[in-house]
C-alpha cells in the first residue's frame, strides 16, 4: 500500500488557530501518513522558537465563548457576553483572555502547543517556511526552530500535487 500524504498550509498566527495544523499533522503521522506543513504569512508565528507570544482575541470574534477557567461549575458555565466596544477599551483584555484560554487548555488535558509541535517533529512531519513571507515580515532564519526548510510555493505544490488530503488552515 502506498503511503498516504497530507499537505497543510498554515496561515493563522493566533493561539486558537495554532492547534488545528499541529493536531491534524501529528495524528496523521501516527496513522502512517507522510505530512508536510507549509507555514506562510501569520502561520510563521507557529514555528518561532518561543510560542509565548501567541494570543487569542475575543474582540470581533462572536464564535468564541468567554468563560472563566476557575471557580465552581455554575460559574465556569457563564458565558460573559462583553460588547466589542468595551473589550477594545480595557487595557490588557487580550492578554487576560489568552491566559484564561491557556488555563482552560491545561484544565482539559489538552496538549500544549510546544508538545504537539515536538511530537510532529519526532514523527518526521516536514515543516516548510515560506521564504517570501519570512523576508516580508523581517524575520531571520534564526528566529525559527531547527529543522525548518525554506522554500516557495512551487515546493509546496510538488508535495501537495500528489497528496491525498490538502488543507488550508
Amino acid at each position: 500500500m502506498d503511503t498516504k500524504k497530507l499537505a497543510i498550509i498554515a496561515t493563522k498566527g493566533t493561539l486558537d488557530w495554532a492547534y488545528p495544523p499541529f493536531i491534524l499533522a501529528s495524528t496523521a503521522a501516527a496513522l502512517g501518513y507522510e505530512v508536510q506543513i507549509f507555514f506562510t504569512f501569520y502561520g510563521l508565528q507557529l514555528v518561532r522558537k518561543s510560542l509565548n507570544g501567541l494570543k487569542v482575541s475575543p474582540l470581533g470574534n462572536p464564535g468564541m465563548p468567554m468563560k472563566m477557567p476557575f471557580g465552581p461549575k455554575w460559574f465556569r458555565g457563564i458565558n460573559w457576553n462583553i460588547p466589542n466596544a468595551v473589550q477594545s477599551l480595557i487595557p490588557g483584555y487580550e492578554s487576560m483572555a489568552t491566559s484564561f484560554m491557556k488555563q482552560t487548555i491545561r484544565n482539559n488535558g489538552v496538549a500544549s502547543l510546544e508538545d504537539l509541535r515536538s511530537l510532529c517533529q519526532e514523527a518526521e512531519v516536514k515543516f516548510i517556511a515560506c521564504q517570501m513571507t519570512v523576508e516580508l515580515f523581517g524575520f531571520e532564519h534564526s528566529d525559527f526552530i531547527d529543522g525548518m526548510e525554506y522554500a516557495g510555493a512551487a515546493m509546496f505544490f510538488e508535495f501537495a500535487g500528489e497528496s491525498d488530503i490538502c488543507l488550508f488552515i
Binding site: 493536531i23 501516527a30 496513522l31 502512517g32 496538549a111
Partner: protein, 75 residues
C-alpha cells in the same frame, strides 16, 4: 485479558491518546497486546479508526465507571 504493556491515558485529550498509543505500540513486538485506559469519550471512535487505518487489531473496547479500556494487538 492478558496484555504485555499498559498505557495510562487518563485525563488526556485528543489527539494525545492516539499519539501515545502509537508510541506504546512501537515498543511492542508483533502480536503483543497493549492495554489502554482513557477518559476521553472521543477515544472510543478514534481507537476504532486508528486500528482500521494502521492494521493493528482492536480486540476489545469497553466502558467501566467513566473510563474506557481498550486492548490493541500489534500488527
Amino acid at each position: 485479558m492478558n496484555f504485555d504493556k499498559e498505557l495510562d491515558a487518563r485525563g488526556l485529550n485528543c489527539p494525545l491518546p492516539i499519539l501515545r498509543t502509537k508510541k506504546a505500540l512501537g515498543e511492542l513486538g508483533a502480536g503483543q497486546v497493549l492495554k489502554i485506559v482513557a477518559t476521553d469519550p472521543g477515544a472510543v471512535k478514534d481507537m476504532q479508526a486508528f486500528a482500521k487505518q494502521t492494521g493493528n487489531e482492536l480486540m476489545s473496547s469497553a466502558e467501566a465507571g467513566g473510563e474506557f479500556v481498550f486492548f490493541m494487538k500489534k500488527k
